[in-house]
């Protein structure tokens, strides 16, 4: 997105990102409501059952993953807790402590993911219940300064409540996908019934046809649109976390060189799965795409291209 190339100081960027996130969240809720509403108009015509069902489904999945999402993410990567007697882990624990002091949040639980691909992610529902996980590969290739920058980025995700937002967004995407699938099923069965009734009542006129067309297109495109919105939220949060990380360490260079090292590694992740990718500091599955900066690659990435993140970091001159 080109407006990120403009020079924006840290605080302006935080405000801007938060506003954008609210907008996208509103978009999600509207989208869920529309999918249900269209169903009401076309299929049922009398009671907002579809709208209510859609919103309830969204709220239900969001609530469920809010309560048990973090633990299941950690479990899915086979992560184990950091061991204070292991020198490398000890350093990691020290660095996490440093960053919790700088940010003023409680110390998150620290996990190591048995994966040679360098990456890190944070999850949890709030700063009091935060998790930071790094891969074994990350501990191997980064020096202390770079590791500190990566941890600062993850702590930033926790402090900015990104962990909660991303968990809920992921759940909403799931709800939209489920709803779209159910709507397609309903068209199979309900469609036939409706055509029979239509011949009796004479149909709903041109407005109904437009609504119907929009709704069908909506259902077909729902998975793509939902994913695009999720990726958009995710990308905003990455810029914001980079900015906050720099606020914590007052050292953009550490993060710049860490991002270069992580995105420069082409080791395929083994323990981190696709549904965890949006939480990671650098998208583990789209390494090539992250190097490019085209508009299309932007739309379908969970993370902004490394080049743009580095550019934004360079613009954050301190003092």
């Amino acid at each position: 997105m080109s407006f990120y190339n403009r020079k924006r100081n840290l605080y302006e960027q935080q405000v801007h990102n938060k506003r954008m996130t609210m907008l996208v969240m509103a978009g999600f809720i509207l989208f869920l409501g529309l999918l249900g509403f269209g169903f009401d108009i076309i299929m049922l015509e009398f009671f907002p059952l579809g709208t209510l069902f859609a919103l309830a489904l969204g709220a239900g999945t969001a609530l469920w993953s809010y309560n048990s999402g973090a633990a299941s993410v950690i479990r899915s990567t086979n992560a184990y807790p950091a061991d204070p007697n292991n020198p490398a882990h000890r350093q990691l624990i020290n660095i996490v402590d440093e960053m919790t002091i700088a940010s003023g949040i409680p110390r998150p639980k620290i996990f190591i993911v048995p994966d040679k691909a360098p990456n890190a992610f944070a999850t949890g529902k709030n700063p009091e219940d935060g998790y930071v996980a790094v891969t074994e590969g990350l501990l191997q290739i980064l020096n202390r300064e770079e590791l500190q920058a990566v941890i600062a980025h993850e702590i930033a995700h926790i402090r900015n409540y990104d962990i909660r937002l991303m968990t809920i967004v992921a759940a909403l995407v799931g709800a939209i996908l489920l709803l779209a699938m159910m709507a397609r099923r309903a068209m199979w069965f309900g469609g036939g019934r409706r055509s029979g009734r239509g011949s009796q009542g004479g149909g709903g006129g041109p407005v109904m046809i437009i609504v119907l067309v929009v709704w069908i297109i909506g259902i077909i495109l729902a998975p793509i649109i939902a994913n695009m919105m999720a990726m958009m939220v995710s990308r905003k949060r990455e810029y914001l976390a980079d900015a906050t990380a720099t606020e914590l360490t007052r050292n953009p260079n550490g993060l710049i060189s860490a991002l270069h090292k992580i995105s420069g590694s082409f080791i395929k992740p083994t323990a981190i799965h696709r549904d965890t990718a949006h939480l990671c500091i650098s998208d583990p599955f789209h390494l090539k795409r992250e190097q490019s900066t085209g508009f299309f690659s932007d739309l379908f990435s969970t993370h902004p291209p490394v080049k743009k993140r580095v550019e934004a970091l360079r613009n954050m001159s301190y003092q």
């Binding site: 020198p87 000890r90 350093q91 020290n94 402590d97 002091i101 700088a102 914590l248």
Partner: protein, 188 residues
């Protein structure tokens, strides 16, 4: 009618005073807490230094002067007289320590010693924690100071004796000292 307006104004003023007062109390406590965080880390550093000196002493017979200056700086840092004094003494200790670490690089046996490595990591981390705790303290103390100084909050601050906090600054004197150490070392 007049009395009603007067009462309403009085209630508003009292409400405002109460909120300002509570805000100041909150900021003052946060500032004190921030200072304690620095204290915790400083104490940890003071505790680690004797360990380090004892571990490297045997190998570094020739650097007696450096070792002594570290111990001396550490002992004087144990009893600061105030925020500014503590900042100055801690900075001297930081200077002495960084010289010691630079010298350790000259001793391959020490450099590869697991104990020394671990102590070095602990001290590096403690230094960082002191730095970040200081950063956090300065940010919150600045907020507190601004709250006691801006009008009309300063009236409340003066009335109840909120004095503002001293910032943990790097004094000019010790700022000069550190580069001098580095330069003299590079010449060797």
């Amino acid at each position: 009618m007049g009395t009603i307006i007067a009462i309403a104004v009085a209630v508003l003023v009292v409400l405002w005073v109460v909120t300002r007062y509570n805000k100041l109390i909150q900021l003052r406590n946060q500032t004190t807490n921030g200072w304690k965080q620095i204290d915790v880390q400083l104490k940890r550093r003071h505790d680690l230094i004797p360990n380090l000196v004892n571990t490297v002493k045997g190998q570094m017979e020739f650097e007696r002067e450096t070792l002594e200056s570290v111990v001396k700086a550490r002992n004087s840092a144990l009893n600061p007289t105030g925020v500014a004094d503590a900042a100055m003494k801690e900075n001297m200790l930081t200077g002495a320590l960084s010289k010691l670490f630079a010298l350790v690089e000259n001793y391959p046996q020490l450099r590869s010693n697991e104990n020394v490595k671990q102590l070095q990591e602990e001290l590096t981390s403690t230094e960082n924690k002191i730095g970040f705790a200081r950063q956090f303290y300065n940010d919150i103390a600045t907020k507190y100071n601004i709250a006691t100084q801006v009008f009309p909050g300063n009236i409340i601050a003066n009335m109840f004796g909120f004095k503002g906090a001293e910032l943990f600054e790097i004094t000019v004197q010790s700022e000069r000292e550190v580069p001098k150490v580095d330069l003299s070392f590079k010449k060797q």
